[in-house]
């Protein structure tokens, strides 16, 4: 009996783990593959966060991200962290282009989807929806996986 229980729990963990994996995995829309969508968990009082992701364009035509929205934040915009004369700044980018056959990586220290006026704290292990607005591919819903702060 005990063994059966342990087995069931193990199976449940496995199944839950794999669906979680699936949700965190890539989304394909036409020629675009969007993968590794994640954000850091946020401290209690902080109302900003950054979402990182990778977009691969396997097609013959370029596309552009023109904006984003999510129920987790009052405002979402494309940002670029930039060093200007030794001072780090975040600038609003109107577009983020993914060239035909190209790849756009939004990673720490560079481009990110900036979330402002967070409606709740981002906690490790959480998954929340984010809609990216593409000029050609339209709106695409993604699932953002929240990792621990020190990642």
């Amino acid at each position: 009996m005990k063994k059966l229980f342990a087995f069931t729990v193990a199976c449940l963990i496995l199944v839950m783990g794999s669906t979680h994996e699936l949700r965190a995995n890539s989304v394909t829309v036409g020629d675009l593959v969007i993968s590794n969508v994640w954000a850091r968990s946020t401290p209690t009082n902080v109302k900003t966060a950054a979402v990182y992701l990778t977009i691969t364009n396997n097609g013959q035509h370029m596309d552009r991200v023109s904006g984003a929205r999510t129920t987790m934040a009052g405002k979402a915009m494309i940002h670029q962290s930039k060093m200007v004369d030794g001072v780090m700044k975040m600038e609003h980018a109107q577009h983020a282009m993914i060239k035909a056959g190209g790849k756009l990586e939004m990673a720490p220290g560079g481009m990110h989807v900036m979330l402002m006026k967070l409606t709740g704290q981002l906690r490790e292990g959480m998954v929340f929806p984010l809609i990216l607005m593409f000029e050609n591919s339209g709106d695409v819903e993604l699932q953002v996986t929240v990792k621990k702060t020190g990642s």
């Binding site: 009082n45 902080v46 900003t48 004369d85 780090m88 220290g109 900036m114």
Partner: protein
Amino acid sequence: MVRRFILTGFIVFASFMSYKAWTIYQFNQMPSQQRADILTSIPIEGVFSLTDHNARSVSMKTYFGRHTLIFFGYTWCPDVCPTVLSDIAVVMDNLGQQSKQLVPILITVDPERDTVSVLQDYVSNFHPDIVGLTGSLDEIAKTAKSFRVRYGKMYLDPDEPDDYSMSHSVTLFLMGPDGKPLRTFRHNEGADELTKELRAVFDGT
């Protein structure tokens, strides 16, 4: 005789000035990263008198006997600051026993938001050894000046004055056990490289 003296003086002065102008011109022609590196290579004073995340009054003296690694940032910084602090957390773990010789310090450039309790919650998210420092607007301005760190408020949307972000220097300052500046690191050095460089300093190689 007097005229010749004046003339010589003038020539010396003029050559000195044109040399100055030339070096300034050259400096301005450099890529901004190179300019930043030169600016950060000029020794800083690096003193402070602030409040830590446990509400203690601290100064450089508080940490005498240990090296300090000082970084300026703010808690609402979503991208670069948490990346640097995560790297520092990894470095502390990498250093093992040697991490006892190092105190990583985050000095806020946004004291209006970053009160003692906000900082306490923030730094503990990264590593238990990281210290967060805050103070009055004036104290922070003085500290930044002493480290030749520049910062400013940036309003992303004029209609949303509460949503400001901060621009700030992201240099990491390594200070010796005597509180004197030893060297600087770039913010994007990476945890492995930082560990290597710090080990070399601690081993005296």
